[in-house]
């Protein structure tokens, strides 16, 4: 049964109900007390996000300082439940301008009630597209580009839009200048052993799109991915062009993309929602270009001294540069004194996270930088507990670089009025979980 929730509660960290909505009669109004006593007040809280107490199951997640708790008593679809919560939070955020926390809920409770009534009926999720809902659910809290419309007077065809086949775009949009912005954002996830072997490495990429297009345009996106190119050359019966092709492990698309067509023709064609959205996500594990190499040496000299040496090398093109590079080098809890030198940037010992934090604002390609530190430890009484040596973590952003090598080959826009569009493409690679064991 695809029921996702019988009731949904928003609680603050103390367990007070901020707002709740019961969709079905099969759970009692006081079930949230059971959640408080059996989950919140025990150390079970972080142990498992799906728990059964008595005849009810609790499915919960924490977002900023709010617990969102779904209560069900049937064999509900949990994946659906969690996804609903994630989407609902995204929707609330888009309604009240970014933040989602206890204050935002209190300040917008009327709106939230109204939305909760609309986006789920009897436990079944309904349309959650902000784009469409904003047509007819408007409140003071709304930050909507359409706020010029008179309030309380719903758009006459709003209902058709909610249920329509293109349930994510309204008709009659018009822009003076038709523009599309494409952002390819990649996160590199790396786990490297202390000896420099890559244990796990993958890239998760997103294609973010911002559309300001009039009418009902049909778009088609071409990337330099292997399958797409092969299929194209096969259809046009001419040999594939040489050049780098990328093998995507997996692709998932926004609901606007015609999946059946992707499956048969391997083309990404869609009618985009208006404004900003995530068009697709992909994952690559083969042929990843790592932007940075990290070579750590950590020596424990006796009981009270340590020597840390970390060399970071940038291995992307010399003309490019990375921004906001942060290297977090873990040190033991009983660190007393640190003494270090860096060739670039600044380093600081941060005792609250037990790390040396080394920041480099701008890191040009094909260069290297070193940090060497001496660390004195408080000699502890009794048996020395072995230090677990958490991994070194790195953060960075490299504009105009894709770790996967993915490139946009074309973006075609068709609209019956035949206007011209301006297309902008940006690339950026960020660190996902970039960890080096030491």
């Amino acid at each position: 049964m695809p029921v996702a929730a019988s009731a949904i509660y928003f609680l603050n960290l103390r367990g007070d109900v901020l707002i709740n909505r019961t969709y079905r009669d099969d759970v009692g109004g006081n079930m949230v007390d059971a959640f408080r006593t059996h989950i919140m007040q025990t150390k079970e809280l972080g142990n498992c996000p799906v728990r059964q107490i008595g005849g009810c199951s609790f499915v919960y997640m924490r977002i900023s300082n709010v617990y969102i708790v779904i209560v069900v008593s049937s064999n509900a679809n949990v994946a659906c439940g969690f996804k609903f919560v994630v989407e609902a939070v995204a929707l609330f955020k888009s309604y009240f301008g970014g933040a989602f926390d206890e204050d935002a809920i209190r300040n917008n409770f009327v709106l939230i009630y109204e939305l909760l009534d609309e986006i789920m009926d009897f436990g079944y999720p309904q349309n959650l597209s902000p784009e469409i809902l904003k047509l007819y659910i408007t409140q003071e809290g709304v930050r909507s580009p359409f706020s010029s419309k008179p309030k309380d007077k719903p758009v006459p065809n709003a209902t058709l839009q909610v249920t329509g086949a293109v349930g994510w775009r309204r008709e009659g949009l018009s822009y003076k200048k038709n523009e599309v912005f494409l952002d390819i954002v990649e996160s590199v996830n790396l786990l490297m052993s202390s000896k420099g072997n890559v244990l796990r490495c993958d890239v998760t990429g997103k294609v973010l799109m911002k559309c300001f297009l009039s009418g009902m345009p049909d778009l088609k996106l071409g990337l330099n991915d292997k399958i797409g190119l092969e299929k194209e050359s096969e259809m046009k019966s001419r040999p594939a062009k040489s050049g780098k092709t990328i093998e995507l492990d997996d692709v998932t698309f926004h609901q606007c993309v015609n999946l059946t067509r992707f499956n048969s023709e391997k083309t990404v064609s869609f009618v985009p929602p208006d404004g900003e959205f995530e068009l697709m996500k992909y994952r690559i594990t083969e042929g990843v270009n790592l932007p940075f190499r990290v070579l750590p040496t950590i020596k424990e000299l006796g009981r009270t001294r340590m020597e840390v040496n970390v060399k970071v090398k940038s291995v992307f093109g010399a003309k490019m540069f990375a921004l906001g590079v942060v290297v977090k080098i873990p040190v033991p809890k009983q660190t007393a004194k640190t003494n270090f030198q860096v060739t670039t940037g600044r380093a600081k010992y941060n005792p609250s996270i037990d790390c040396l934090v080394w920041k480099i604002r701008k890191f040009p390609g094909q260069t290297e930088s070193t940090l060497s530190a001496e660390i004195e430890l408080i000699s502890t009484m009794g048996e020395k507990k072995s230090w677990t040596r958490p991994p070194i973590q790195m953060e960075f952003q490299v504009p105009m670089f894709t770790a996967s090598g993915l490139r946009v080959r074309f973006l075609k826009v068709w609209e019956k009025s035949g206007y011209n569009t301006v297309e902008w493409v940006r690339y950026i690679t960020k660190a996902g979980s970039y960890e080096i064991r030491c």
Binding site: A104, N127, Y136, T159, T252
Partner: protein, 899 residues
């Protein structure tokens, strides 16, 4: 900029409700709207604003959609508590359902469906009928769900009014969202109905698969879930279905992906072509892996499902083990699940890499995770013969780190490795012995002792090692004692020298005389007999070759696995339990309230100990207490110690040494009333009754396991009750194997968790075990189990007490159905239950008997029974300082005489 609704939460302290009332009736629109918002704010923080019902409903007739929605929200919350006033809203609802604005039409139908008040439901039918045929798809999609709501309230009405047919028509609607909601509604109705309502044939299948392309993401989930139970006619059809579903694997919504996977796996059962299957497996892997980049909670759901999928089709993710490597910052629940899957995917090809990972995890901070990582190494060793040696060397490296819990966990798994590969890796025993004195956990100790015993002939100082444990034998936990016993016997058989001989004397003495653990005692006696009758036979038995073990932990039974796979992405697949095991579909609301109150635990005041509640308790538990409880013929040896007797017979020996079992664990009393029948307890039958023995209140219980599984970890809890009855100790039930039963007498204490409110005989009990959901049942407190042995009174005191109590404290009841056959037998009967005879007299041809009794906390009960011997009719009068308990007393009298 964001809203400023928080201002509505600020209260004006006193007179809030009257003030709101005034504002609600204001002539200004804005003021009314603000007032409604304040009411909703008060409702949100849990204040009772139901008294404003009429005033709020008056605001309902408005053009302002926002205000209307707020009023509707209020109605959903309070209509149930004010059913008579709710009717006031009906007119507006009906009117709204004909509004030109489709949003308002839909809103009216949607809200009416949420109000579960019979009077409103009656009026819902006509608007619903119209809305199902509305021109606007938004209204139709809302009406479709509303049919499911109505079915939940009144299934008959739905069938009578032909809503099911209307709903089926919507499957062919031209709007995909209407189709999706209709499918969801029909699937739900089918699930709760026994007659075939929504059967998918090949035409509907095609229709729905086409709709799939145009639906919203949620609609796709509804349709895929509904179709996943469809059985294709032949492999060809199955292949066709799969072909149309596979594109869904590319969807960004994890629920769509999982539902698609579920459907594909179902159809794969029918597909015969190995090429097609291989191809499908290849296609499913990437989307499953992608789920692991979602939010951690979604990852958890995905991992629990992948665990199932991997057991069914290991090939799908055989090459993807790396994606399950734990990240340092993964939440613990994700790490634990990843570890489980890594073990399942470990193979000769990737074991080196996997072992490096496990070793890394074993040095992390979280103790539970570290333990599991160590155990994982052991399980890999048992699973992969060729890798066993490498696993052991990793374990030895970990032991060298000397982190206490790592060492202990390592020893536990090494014991298993020894069992799996006997006579292969014993060279490491010396290393293990080094950490002997750091062991403090029972399981690790027991494992180490097992190793010493098993390899006693190779360990030079085995006797010394064992001896060091023997000193603390009586204090050790049962698990360790059992191992010590066996290990000592092994040692003796292998090295029958003087040292071990003395040791065995000590152990056997300890294990037979000083213990109250029947398992230990029995095992000791068997060894003793064996050794004294035929040491050679003992050798054959004790040192026999052991069967080879395999790693089957966390491997599900194939039929259960298949069932779980049909439930992918639901709670069932997360719990790894079939839906019946945790969904208690309670049809009666009465039972439901009871359940909820229990779940609240002890902190919520249990105020529902009124007669209504006890009447609503399950029929199996009330009013059938056929046996007078407490009738356990007190001091007679109710426990005939069957086990030692059996042993005596078996050995043909007179056993003077055997101590009688003195614990009240196995009395064979009269049959107890069944409180949880096997049919509702999933095979577990529980019978129970309060009783009294030797001045102590017990809860006699009988557990019968008719299920297929071993049940263990029994626990019991009593809800608050009038006398504050609670368990004095833990429930001691050994693991129950299928087909066996266990009896126990649980000592009870009084005045532990008193319930406020009027006295009631209701005793609500919850019993749980490790395998099943919690069972709740209701029993009766039988008052005569509580009457104290010190209830006897002197005649004078009796008279004095009688006089000192005001007449208002006297309560009378007539029992026309009870006949007294003789005065003496009556007195005997009542004395057996601590109601003591004071005097008797004749009043005409009637006999009058006076008795006294005492309930705990020294509350006297003065009893006067009047009856004509041989004639039906008994009059009973009691005088007591707490006349509220009298009804309970009458219940007891009725029970005693009826039996």
């Amino acid at each position: 900029m964001s809203g400023h609704d928080s201002k509505y939460f600020s209260t004006t302290k006193k007179g809030e409700i009257p003030e709101l009332k005034e504002e609600l009736n204001s002539q200004y629109k804005d003021k009314r709207k603000d007032a409604v918002k304040k009411v909703i704010a008060a409702m949100t923080v849990g204040k009772d604003v139901s008294s404003l019902f009429t005033d709020v409903v008056n605001c309902m007739q408005t053009e302002n959609l926002e205000l209307k929605k707020l009023v509707y929200l209020y109605l959903i919350n309070y209509a149930k508590s004010q059913p008579d006033l709710a009717i006031l809203a009906v007119n507006t609802f009906v009117k709204d359902s004909q509004d030109p604005n489709p949003l308002i039409r839909a809103l009216a139908v949607r809200t009416m469906g949420c109000i579960r008040v019979d009077k409103i439901t009656e009026y819902l039918c006509d608007p619903l009928q119209k809305c199902l045929k509305d021109d606007d798809p938004y209204v139709r999609k809302t009406a479709a769900i509303c049919v499911a709501k109505l079915f939940d309230i009144n299934a008959e009405l739905v069938e009578d009014r032909g809503f099911l047919e209307a709903l089926k028509d919507l499957i062919s609607d031209n709007n995909p969202m209407v189709v999706a909601n209709a499918v969801a509604a029909l699937a739900e109705i089918q699930e709760n109905s026994t007659s075939p309502i929504f059967e998918i044939n090949s035409t509907t299948l095609t229709k729905l698969l086409t709709a799939l392309n145009e639906c919203t993401e949620w609609g796709q989930v509804f349709i895929l879930d509904a179709l996943s139970r469809y059985k294709a006619a032949d492999p060809r059809e199955a292949e066709n279905i799969v072909e149309r579903v596979t594109p869904r694997l590319q969807h960004a919504n994890c629920a769509v992906v999982l539902s698609a996977v579920k459907m594909i796996l179902q159809q794969m059962e029918l597909i015969t072509s190995t090429d097609v299957i291989r191809n499908l497996c290849k296609k499913m892997a990437p989307p499953l892996v992608t789920l692991l980049s979602a939010e951690p909670e979604i990852q958890y759901v995905a991992l629990r499902n992948i665990n199932l999928i991997v057991q069914k089709r290991p090939t799908i993710l055989a090459h993807e083990i790396k994606v399950f490597f734990c990240k340092y910052n993964d939440p613990i629940y994700v790490k634990m699940e990843k570890l489980e899957i890594m073990i399942k995917l470990a193979s000769d090809r990737n074991i080196d890499q996997v072992l490096l990972e496990f070793k890394e995890y074993a040095t992390e901070v979280d103790v539970d995770f570290v333990r599991k990582a160590v155990r994982a190494i052991g399980r890999c060793a048992i699973k992969l013969e060729r890798a066993a040696e490498r696993c052991i060397s990793v374990l030895l490296e970990l032991i060298k780190i000397k982190v206490n819990y790592v060492v202990q966990e390592a020893i536990i798994v090494i014991k298993d490795i020894f069992r799996r590969y006997p006579n292969t890796y014993e060279s490491i025993i010396a290393t293990l012995c080094e950490s002997l004195d750091t062991l403090d956990e029972p399981e690790a100790k027991a494992s180490m002792i097992w190793i010493i015993g098993e390899y006693a002939e190779r360990i030079d100082n085995a006797d010394e090692l064992l001896e060091s444990f023997l000193e603390s034998f009586p204090e050790e936990p049962a698990q360790v004692q059992l191992q010590l016993l066996t290990a000592t016997v092994k040692l003796f058989l292998k090295k029958p020298t003087e040292g071990p001989q003395q040791m065995i004397q000590v152990v056997l003495n300890n294990a037979t005389m000083e213990t109250d653990n029947p398992d230990l005692r029995d095992r000791a006696y068997i060894y003793w007999r064996l050794l004294s009758t035929d040491p050679e036979a003992a050798k054959d038995v004790v040192l026999a070759e052991k069967p080879v073990i395999t790693d089957d932990s966390n491997q599900l039974d194939p039929s259960l696995l298949d069932e779980l796979l049909t439930n992918i992405s639901t709670l069932s697949s997360v719990y790894h339990k079939p839906p019946e095991a945790f969904v208690t579909r309670l049809k009666t609301t009465a039972q439901k309230t009871e359940d909820e109150d229990f779940a609240e635990g002890s902190e919520a005041g249990y105020s529902s100990s009124n007669p209504v509640d006890s009447a609503a308790s399950p029929p199996a538990t009330t009013g059938n207490i056929p046996q007078p409880a407490g009738r356990q013929p007190a001091p007679t040896p109710a426990a005939p110690a069957p086990v030692p007797d059996l042993l005596g017979d078996l050995m043909g020996l007179d056993n003077a040494a055997i101590v009688p079992v003195d614990e009240p664990a196995t009395p064979s009393g009269p049959p107890l009333p069944v409180v949880v029948p096997a049919s509702t307890g999933q095979g577990l039958q529980i019978s129970a009754q309060l009783s009294r023995r030797d001045g102590q209140v017990f809860y006699s219980m009988l557990f019968e396991n008719n299920s297929q599984a071993v049940l263990d970890g029994f626990m019991i809890q009593f809800n608050k009750n009038t006398f504050g009855l609670a368990a004095a100790g833990p429930l001691q039930i050994p693991p129950l194997h299928p087909g066996t039963s266990a009896r126990t007498m649980l000592p009870m204490v009084l005045f532990q968790n008193l319930s406020p409110g009027p006295p009631s005989s209701l005793l609500q009990v919850a019993v749980k075990n490790n395998q099943q959901p919690v069972w709740y049942f209701t029993d009766k407190i039988i008052l005569h189990a509580l009457f104290g042995e010190d209830g006897r009174m002197e005649r004078g005191t009796f008279l004095e007490t009688w006089r000192s109590l005001p007449d208002s404290n006297e309560v009378q009841r007539e029992f026309p159905g009870i006949t007294i056959t003789s005065v003496e037998s009556t007195i005997d009967l009542l004395t057996a239950f601590n109601m003591f005879f004071i005097a008797k007299r004749k009043n005409g041809n009637q006999d009058v008997i006076y008795l006294s009794a005492k309930v705990p906390r020294d509350v006297p009960f003065l009893i006067e029974l009047t009856a004509m011997v041989g004639q039906p009719g008994l009059k009973c009068a009691v005088k007591t300082p707490t006349p509220e308990i009298a009804p309970l007393f009458f219940e007891a009298i009725e029970l005693l005489f009826k039996a």
